[in-house]
Symmetry: C2
Subunit: 203 residues, 2 copies
């Protein structure tokens, strides 16, 4: 080890020591352990998959969880096949399918309302650690659900319960009401280059 490397090493150590102080201070200030409302929105890939990753984490820590899918109508997705028989997971595929497939707004609206009734049940269950409302934002877009009604129910939920909502174009009021919001931008997708939805990756 020569002197130049020692000096670079030393500078790195000083920089990292300063960074550690800043991060440790922030950690010390974060003391309000409580349930968190997380929202994954945007047009990129990863909104629902990140929810399922959180589900795996929660189950890894022994928590109980429920998933209500507002749009998907298939029970043979990889996520459903993997999670639905887990003893601490309640899995509900409540959607009627994409609205351009059903072409039946009355049926779509009824499916969304039924999914919301299922969600309301869990939002008053203080034994549930994590509730995932997958693709719920589409229900706002089409007017099947009102954001104020959903936000009121989120506020009234058990204080340690985490709720994770996904879907494109979340209404501003929902973004304001959430504690953690990620906006997942589509930089590019293999589908645009002619690759079909691949099992495991996309469903």
């Amino acid at each position: 080890m020569n002197d130049a490397f020692d000096t670079a090493d030393h500078r790195h150590a000083q920089r990292m020591a300063r960074k550690k102080i800043v991060i440790d201070d922030k950690k010390a200030a974060a003391t309000q352990a409580r349930g968190v409302v997380v929202l994954h929105t945007g047009c990129g890939k990863g909104k629902s998959t990140a929810a399922f990753g959180v589900l795996a984490r929660a189950l890894g820590h022994g928590q109980t969880a429920a998933v209500v899918q507002f749009v998907k109508s298939r029970a043979d997705t990889g996520e459903a096949l993997f999670f639905r028989d887990h003893p601490r997971v309640h899995w509900h595929v409540m959607g009627a399918g994409f609205t351009w497939e059903t072409q039946d707004p009355t049926r779509d609206a009824a499916a969304a309302r039924a999914a919301w009734e299922q969600a309301v049940h869990y939002l008053s269950d203080d034994t549930l650690d994590l509730l995932i409302l997958d693709e719920i934002t589409y229900a706002f877009k089409y007017g099947w659900l009102d954001a104020p009604e959903v936000i009121a129910a989120l506020h009234a939920r058990p204080p340690m319960q985490h709720v994770l909502l996904t879907g494109r174009a979340a209404p501003p009021a929902l973004i304001a009401a959430a504690d953690t919001v990620s906006d997942i931008a589509l930089v590019k997708h293999a589908f645009q280059a002619g690759v079909p939805a691949m099992p495991g990756l996309e469903f």
Copy 2:
């Protein structure tokens, strides 16, 4: 049902029928089933969690997968506890911890190189369906790995293998080489409001 509603219903049906044609055409054009390189980057929450959601999906479809964690040094995260004993998962916690915690760049660099050697092993294994290189981008930032070396290995991998890379500030060459890229922006995080990292949500 009155006439006004009938008309709105009819317009909805026409709009959805047009949308279905556009989407069906795109689906018909997507015929190149092959392995896909997916990259989750950006500063928001969801990069690694979306990778673990994809892992659940892949396992749900009976696929085999490997995970190499380039930074994390803990084997007691929710994701590790949940997935590591699954018979079709190979789980490798290879990191030395955050560089501001270790304050030892020589050790960090050696850990990153060892993680990459593990990754290279899987990149030549055509029985592996999915490889997750979690937080690999930090190795580029600190100069522990060269992007061209990694990109060359991605190009030479088995043609049906999916690879998913995560981490902030991905180098432009890696973004160019990936098939699907999501940029996950931090809109807000509960940590900023004083909520500590919660088990199940953050680890």
